[in-house]
Symmetry: none
Subunit: 204 residues, 4 copies
DNA sequence: AATGAATGAGACTTCATTCAT
DNA sequence: CATGAATGAAGTCTCATTCAT
């Protein structure tokens, strides 16, 4: 033990290619990226890339999985304890942190979305996106439901609708963070959450 | 009057090509679409396309402008009268109507976003998107501000943050409508608006 | 009489197209020129060009004939009287005048030469060039022969060789005039003629 | 030693493509030649050509440089010793040798001249031609000047004019050799040189 | 395992030519 | 007669992928 196995070396190089590819795809898009460019960026030969991946699409999907995994990991580290409101804050802040960390390479995400719409990979990407969205929507809905049970959230609230809207809203924040680099996403998130919790209109 | 002029015929054919191109781009994406395919789809010769457009990118941008124009038009037909809350409902419903009307070809929108990130057209597209977002954000913020002045909206609300979040949320609804074809966007919008207006947490 | 006939108008327009084409071919070469460009330059519709010419090559050949005709005309106006030496001077000066008049558009001549080498028109052009060269060579040879008969030219001179070399030399002066716009072709011609008549080496 | 390196193989293939291209350009001209044809003629794939050259123009320029290099090489092998007259003979014979060796592919030279006039490569070609002409003109002028200093050449001779005319004349011999395949260039050159040295007109 | 030279499918684009008006 | 919209053949160039070393 301690000595790096062949397996290790293999996956290490594979990882390096994925990292390099992520940068290239973010910079040029899927269509604009070339396998030669990825290979050069990863400092390996063009042929070597094909030792680890079957095709350009294959690389793209690997990058996609890496990104999705990072997001899931980031969110998973959050301890879900506390009140519903507390959990909403914690979750949204974790997401915002991810946004801030990712926004520079957000074009990569857009590439994935576009590919989910039109490329031959659409099925696999679309399935992943759907699953991700459903998962987070459900996660938020659970929090809200629990909040309703505990009397923290008003009973009249359409939990499903709110969860759906919220998940989309947070996702869209990533887009806006990328578009408007000076946007203070954290502040927007906080300001919005506060307003939504208390309500826009004055109570009687 | 009534006789079709040369000008008419020219712009009519141009329009036909744009329509055909929109369908092809939506189906295959920018990179996947071929000019030959667009020409065939518009039922004209390959060379004819180049009588009306300088390049494939040019066609793409024309389609983009068509879509943006349609959206702006749809929203512009809304009479802005009534209370702030009323206006939010009206605006959001117009937007939701556009979503329902466009969701099938939403992949086209995703193509535009992706192109805004990486293609050589990025500057033009990005500028248009930024401007669009800003415009709608400001529009919503205006409504909220007026609401505050009239006492309809609570004074403590961070209007800018809410407007930013709302615009993103509505945009993201389009994405979800496309992803989940059975999603009732109208209902989500209404449920969310109601909850946000009154607030998630019970008042004292 | 005096009223322009249909025939006149036709050939006038044809002439205009040839003139315009000459400029365009000189500017862009045969391959680089477009029929559309020629039409625009002649201020007629693209289709009109095809009323007067069967093809782009046809236009090119018409321009060629125009240029050749001009040269022949210029040289024909020279009265061939006088001694052999006198005639050489007169002829060469006429040629030099043509060079000075044409050098700006010399690239057109180069286009013809190139076309004589490789284009489908090669046979027609080559034949014309050959005939032209032969004609002038013979013309010069005649002068020299007569000079020999009259004792003006040394009997030992290889008249055919000298005529061949001279014709080529004058032709090449055109090329150099075009390449080096500040070259004083007239002076070169005179200086060379003088030297050649008397001889480069000192006489015993 | 004796083992071919990668470098060798690369430049060997590059050379092969240039050779093939020279033949194709000579046969069809620049515009008429196709990269596919060149590739086929070089017995490599179409894409391979682009591994060695950036564009069709690039190939053309490489062929040009090859030809120019061959000429310079041929002339450089001449030992410049002897009297001025002797040197003129030697130089002109070397040039004539090159003509005889090249005349079959002279259309290639015409292509270069035409390209120097109108193609996008005009600047590079024109510069090379100008430099070549100047170089040879100066070379001849030097010989003549030295001849004058040594009393071999008459003092009254306009050396610059004669040098300019001679260089053009030799160049034009190449053209005539190509046009009239049965022309005995060597004989023409000798006959002309003899006549010019002694002078056309009888001495007193 | 690693490489990069070789390849050819395929796409954009140009433009000579036709023909209906 | 004049026109210019329409066309498709043809050509350059890119690049994912293969495979011999």
């Amino acid at each position: 033990m301690g000595s790096s196995t062949t397996q290790d070396r293999k996956s290490a190089k594979r990882e390096a290619i994925i990292q390099a590819a992520a940068a290239v795809f973010a910079e040029r898009g899927f269509a604009g990226a070339t396998v030669a460019g990825i290979a050069a960026s990863a400092d390996v030969g063009k042929g070597t890339v094909y030792e680890y991946f079957d095709s350009k699409e294959d690389i793209f999907l690997a990058v996609f999985e890496l990104l999705m995994g990072q997001l899931a990991e980031d969110l998973a580290t959050q301890h879900p304890g506390g009140s519903a409101v507390e959990q909403l804050r914690v979750f949204s802040e974790a997401f915002v942190a991810w946004i801030n960390h990712t926004s520079e390479a957000y074009s990569l995400t857009l590439e994935f979305w576009a590919a989910a719409g039109t490329s031959p990979m659409r099925d696999r990407l679309m399935a992943a996106f759907r699953q991700g969205y459903l998962q987070y929507r459900e996660f938020i809905a659970d929090i809200l439901h629990q909040g309703q049970e505990h009397g923290e959230i008003r009973p009249g609230v359409d939990v499903e609708a709110v969860a759906t809207a919220l998940v989309g809203m947070w996702d869209a924040l990533g887009l806006q963070a990328w578009m408007f680099t000076d946007l203070d996403v954290e502040s927007v998130n906080r300001g919005f959450l506060d307003a939504m919790l208390t309500g826009l209109i004055p109570q009687a």
